[in-house]
Amino acid sequence: MTESINAGTNNTIVLEADKLTKRYEDGVLALDELSFTIKSSEIYAMLGANGAGKTTTINLFLNFIEPTSGEARVMGIVTHKEPLLAKEKLAFVSENVMLYQNFTAIQNLDYFAKLGGKKNYTRDDYRNVLLRVGLQEEAHNKRLKGFSKGMRQKCGIAIAILKDAPAILLDEPTSGLDPKAGYEFIQLLDNLRSEGKSILMSTHDIFRAREIADTVGIMNQGKLVMQAGRDELTDKDLEQLYMKYMAGHMEAAA
């Protein structure tokens, strides 16, 4: 895995949160001047309790919501100013991937690939990418109706891969995957990183985060309370760190 970190030599900044702040209409301050950068060939794992603001961050990058202040940028493009341009550079896997239930896996892939501007894929391409994410061949032409959560998640990841965008946003991608699929997924992320992708994922899985991420950020109540690179983390016990920061903030809040 060490060589893949070094694979992306042109370490340009792809994803960037700049004092990103979001206050919802009901007054909840979900993000409070959040700032981070993710370079190409870098995996950034966001950790944090429920309600910490992880999904909000991802939604701001996708312009599903407008920031109260600050900016989210994708390759320098401010997402809320030029959302269509920014979305060309983003692939997204949602927390619970839901696709068109009456379409087969291949039909779903075909539709979303075309939406992402990729019109020249063949059936073989779809087959290969589904095999790559670990969906058995007999499921390729079945309707999504009968798919398990993990199978849908795999299709979602396949769609993100097909879009071939420089940045990939993943919201709790491993939730619902069985241990084997989880392991395969980590391999896949590693692959994508070596292709130069910049990956932002939110997760509750501390161990996977430590295993794969180049940078880990811990969020609490909309703030980044800790950020550590891979090298620093090898020395520390991430779980203890996580607990410490959570506890610290609980006390601070109390």
């Binding site: 996708l62 599903f64 919501i65 239930q101 379409f103 039909q107 539709y111 979303f112």
Partner: protein, 478 residues
């Protein structure tokens, strides 16, 4: 981009179990309505021919024009197959007798009450009630359903302009629902051709316009469905709102409009008119009595003071004058009664047309009644059918009575022809007897009112499309 989106929209509709259900129900109902309509048309035609044949037979056997009794039957029109309107409610037959008023009798619903309970299920009814409901069923969740399913988020993770998305939603749903309308329609038209229903060019043009108005009508409900699906977050609430609006538009406003018009503008009943007329007659006769009494007193006092011849002569002159004045007064009062009767009648007609205008204007707030009025006008089965039929019968009656008078002059007026030389009486010659043929309003006349209804429907569509755009631009796709 739009092409991909529309393709997807069509595919999701065609692959959904909803589509199969709607398509089969539509096919069965539309074809059935055509079949039943054609059958009814044939029955009506047989009835028409039977009555006419019997009448012709009777007339030919008459030996005197005075005994001729005409009984007019309205010829069935092929357009009634598609929109029955008031066709079944008004009498088809009308006896043409000397001096009698025009009185229609023998409506289908009065002959066969059973059918009047649920009314007929013609093509217009299917579009107005069933297809509009299906349009809502198709579209109530088109945006909020995707939001709830989570696919909307995934779509908008891609560079799609919202306007493209909403346009393809509307167009896709529209195409998807056109299929269950158009395929059975074409089959139905084929049925009309196969059954050799005598449709002329005007009929076909009218039918095509009816189909066009139907398409505009259900387009409105598709737009309405998409609009509510992009106003609400949950499909269940969208469906609830749409159902309430559908009930209002299809079931309540059309009836309420007419009922409100009935409350605001009262039209006198025939009994009221008669009693008013009697009242007037009584007033007039009282007035006459008063006048007579006054004059009689004058005469009596003149008579009492009669002394000489000169006065007697003067008295006779007074009596003469009185008699003259009496006739004059009598005529005057009668004229007044006639005038009053005419004014009552005129008022009745005015009130009736005011009521109709108000009722229809109020009803037209509902696209369902705009559609119904337009298609009834196009098929010639609107409310004007009755008055037009009566007016044409009146003209025919006058013409026929003149014709008969001429014939009677030629052949002798008596009801019983003289039996001369033990010969059998000669039958009358009916070869040039005038025939009644009901003439429908011309297409350009029809279009004058229909264009308003089409305009109303188009206006509603524009409003819903604008509403959809405004709602969806700000829609939270999460």
């Amino acid at each position: 981009m739009i092409k991909i989106l529309i393709e997807k929209e069509l595919k999701t509709i065609l692959l959904s179990p909803k589509f199969v259900a709607v398509f089969s129900v539509c096919s069965i109902l539309i074809l059935l309505s055509f079949y039943i309509g054609i059958d009814e048309y044939r029955v009506a035609l047989k009835h028409y021919e039977a009555v006419n044949a019997q009448l012709a037979q009777q007339t030919r056997e008459q030996t005197s024009w005075a005994a001729v009794r005409l009984n007019i039957v309205r010829h069935p029109d092929p357009m009634h197959i598609f929109v029955s309107g008031i066709n079944n409610d008004i009498g088809r037959q009308c006896p043409i007798t000397r001096g009698d008023v025009i009185k229609l009798y023998g409506s289908r619903y009065s002959d066969q009450l059973l059918f009047s309970i649920f009314r007929s299920m013609d093509f217009m009814f299917i579009v107005q009630v069933i297809l509009s409901l299906f349009a809502i069923l198709f579209t109530y969740d088109s945006i909020c359903g995707e939001r709830e399913a989570g696919t909307l988020k995934l779509n908008f993770a891609n560079p799609i302009p919202r306007t493209s998305y909403i346009i393809s939603k509307i167009v896709g749903s529209w195409l998807g629902l056109s299929i269950p309308l158009i395929i059975p329609m074409l089959l139905g038209l084929a049925l009309v051709l196969v059954c050799r229903i005598p449709m002329n060019i005007t009929h076909w043009v009218q039918l095509l316009i009816i189909i066009g108005v139907s398409v505009i009508y259900f387009s409105f409900f598709i737009c309405l469905g998409v609009m509510f699906s992009s106003i609400t977050k949950a499909p269940s609430s969208s469906f609830l709102y749409l159902l309430v609006i559908w009930i209002g538009f299809v079931l309540i406003i059309p009836r309420a409009g007419v009922m409100v018009a009935g409350q605001f503008i009262s039209v006198p009943t025939p009994a009221e008119i008669t009693s008013k007329l009697t009242q007037k007659e009584r007033e007039m006769s009282e007035q006459l009595d008063k006048w007579q009494n006054g004059r009689r007193k004058e005469l009596e006092s003149a008579l009492a003071s009669l002394t000489n011849e000169e006065q007697q002569k003067k008295y006779m002159e007074m009596v003469d004058q009185y008699n003259k004045d009496l006739t004059q007064k009598y005529d005057e009062l009668n004229r007044e009664i006639d005038k009053y009767y005419i004014s009552l009648n005129e008022e009745w007609r005015n009130r009736k047309s005011q009521q109709e205008t108000l009722g229809f204007s109020l009803s037209r707030f509902s696209p369902a009644s705009a559609f119904q009025l337009a298609s009834m006008d196009l098929a010639g089965t609107g409310v004007s059918l009755k008055t037009e039929y009566e007016d044409q019968l009146q003209i025919f009656k006058d013409m026929f009575n003149k014709f008969r008078a001429k014939k009677e002059e030629e052949t002798g007026r008596s009801l019983f022809t003289m039996l001369n030389d033990d010969k059998k009486p000669k039958n009358i010659d009916t070869s040039d007897i005038p025939e009644f043929r009901f003439v429908n309003r011309s297409l350009s006349q029809i279009m004058q009112t229909t264009i308003i209804d089409i305009g109303i429907l188009a206006f509603y569509i524009l409003i819903t499309i604008a509403g959809t755009f405004i709602a969806f631009i700000r829609y939270d796709v999460r």
